[in-house]
Symmetry: C2
Subunit: 148 residues, 2 copies
């Protein structure tokens, strides 16, 4: 098993602000992909789409307000199905620290390298959204390679 | 053991161009940190500094022109010592694909989350350097959190 890890700090923001951006469709659509639908509450299902290449369906398996959100991937690329995406939030001085883990990849395939870098860019989009009001969700996301 | 993985594609560039940015002091200083010194050739030692917080010393343990560069960390933060940083390059259409792995972390500590995100930003700096001639090496790097 292999995991993707990331950490960013959102300046001048409360954990509640980041939590909202992780649990509401409007929030998610403003930093990850504009094509977000579903229900970000506990037990809900979220659909993230990235036209024309597909997307991911997540089941929300844990929510602790302002502290933690966990999704399980239930549909999408084969390598993603059954993996979990875990967000932990905490306040540290003037920052909200986001600890991100995409856990349970069966093998460290090249697609995992790509997703790791791409997650970093989306975390920076989330940080920008909460700090400035403007993120860079798909299709306005930063291209990093031939795989977009 | 745990690894940090990344993948970026450098558009309109040859693997030789990326290889130069990984094996020459001028190249490294233009995307990672301006305070780079030493020798990037096989068997050489490279010193990367990030004032005021310290840095890393690497031994160059593998070089295959336009294909691969591997460093072993011989000095720096305790979590980094003994880890390896591996770069694989290949041409794919109009891109040079960079597969990056920072291998052999003893434990997935929070500092590893930070370094993973930070590596992504430096890989994007390397990509920008080769594509446009201008990277964002420290101290001009993108701050991602309270840990810089």
């Amino acid at each position: 098993m292999a995991d993707i890890l990331h950490r960013v700090g959102v300046k001048g923001a409360a954990p509640e602000d980041v939590y909202d951006a992780l649990t509401t469709v409007d929030g998610l659509a403003a930093w990850w992909t504009e094509k977000t639908s579903g229900d970000g509450g506990l037990g809900g299902r979220l659909e993230f789409r990235f036209p024309p290449v597909g997307g991911f369906d997540m089941e929300v398996v844990e929510t602790r307000p302002a502290e933690r959100v966990t999704w399980r991937v239930v549909d999408g690329p084969e390598e993603w199905i059954g993996t979990t995406i875990d967000w932990r939030l905490r306040r540290d001085g003037d920052y909200t620290i986001i600890l991100f883990e995409h856990q349970g990849w069966k093998e460290p395939v090249e697609f995992m390298n790509h997703c790791s870098t791409k997650w970093a860019t989306y975390l920076l989009s989330l940080k920008a959204l909460v700090e400035t009001g403007a993120g860079a969700p798909a299709p306005h996301d930063l291209p990093i390679s031939d795989w977009h």
